[in-house]
Symmetry: C2
Subunit: 156 residues, 2 copies
Amino acid sequence: MPRSPKTADQDVVKRRVSCSIAGALELVGERWSLLAIREMAYGVHRFDQITGYTGAPRNILTDRLKSLEGSGIVERRQYSERPPRFEYHLTAAGRELVPVLIALSQWGDRWGHDEPIESFPHSCGAPLQVDHTCHHCHQPVVPEDLKPQAMGIAAH
Amino acid sequence: MPRSPKTADQDVVKRRVSCSIAGALELVGERWSLLAIREMAYGVHRFDQITGYTGAPRNILTDRLKSLEGSGIVERRQYSERPPRFEYHLTAAGRELVPVLIALSQWGDRWGHDEPIESFPHSCGAPLQVDHTCHHCHQPVVPEDLKPQAMGIAAH
DNA sequence: CTTAATCCGTTGTGTTTTGGAACTGACTCG
DNA sequence: CGAGTCAGTTCCAAAACACAACGGATTAAG
């Protein structure tokens, strides 16, 4: 019986625009953006190096860096006057994307289709494996925590 | 002086292909993919509902779901025989993307350009704020942990 | 029985975004 | 001078995208 219990559907669009995930993806969800951010997090700050390491086409990277700068994620620092040259650095907002990168990398380690890669070592020496815990109750955050009644979703 | 200390640059491409972040982005980095995954994590499993909530064009969503199914992130379950109808569910791989979604949403809450949104409540009741800690040493993971000597990056 | 509506797509048609490669320009080094 | 570096820009073909319309299968309403 393909007939659902009829949910209010006027606000179909409301959820989309007022969602932090969609909002984040609007700023960093385009191709190459997160990879460029990864490079800067690694400590790579020069245009040519970023293109080289990410594989991003130069013109695309130009665009991405420009828009990331516009979003306050990247800061453009001039390091040479007379051939005007710039370095790209993460702002505080950019640095706070690192958990996203780490989460992606952990997932990629486990489920990516490429050969198994050695993961980063944490500063403690052990291979980094991140636990996600609630700041308040210190319990691990599980997938079901994303499935809340919040935002007026009828239970399906 | 725009002159770097000359680094070996033959393996410029090596890093890109052998990176778990890039690998993950190849599978879920396209537009609408993560939003569709978000919906399934929320418990929304039907085509029309997913298009409605995400705003993704139908044909694009068809593509995305197909490719996510091919990557083993989404499972297509038939729930009606004679008008053949399907539901889309996350696999284990898909469910493990939830930390990525949560990290993105936390970032979006703080830095997204839209109006401040109320965040999810955790199951403990408090507004969810996630701590990222090393599974071994239980220390918080900080941005600098991503900047390692690993992967043969010369210090810049 | 006829008409409308739901649900899940597919097709068709333009627009936008990409990717790749070549080109510019201002230097630097030997 | 000639080769090399660095950071872009420009050009163009190819791919991805958005929108709207169409379709078949079925159930609900009048």
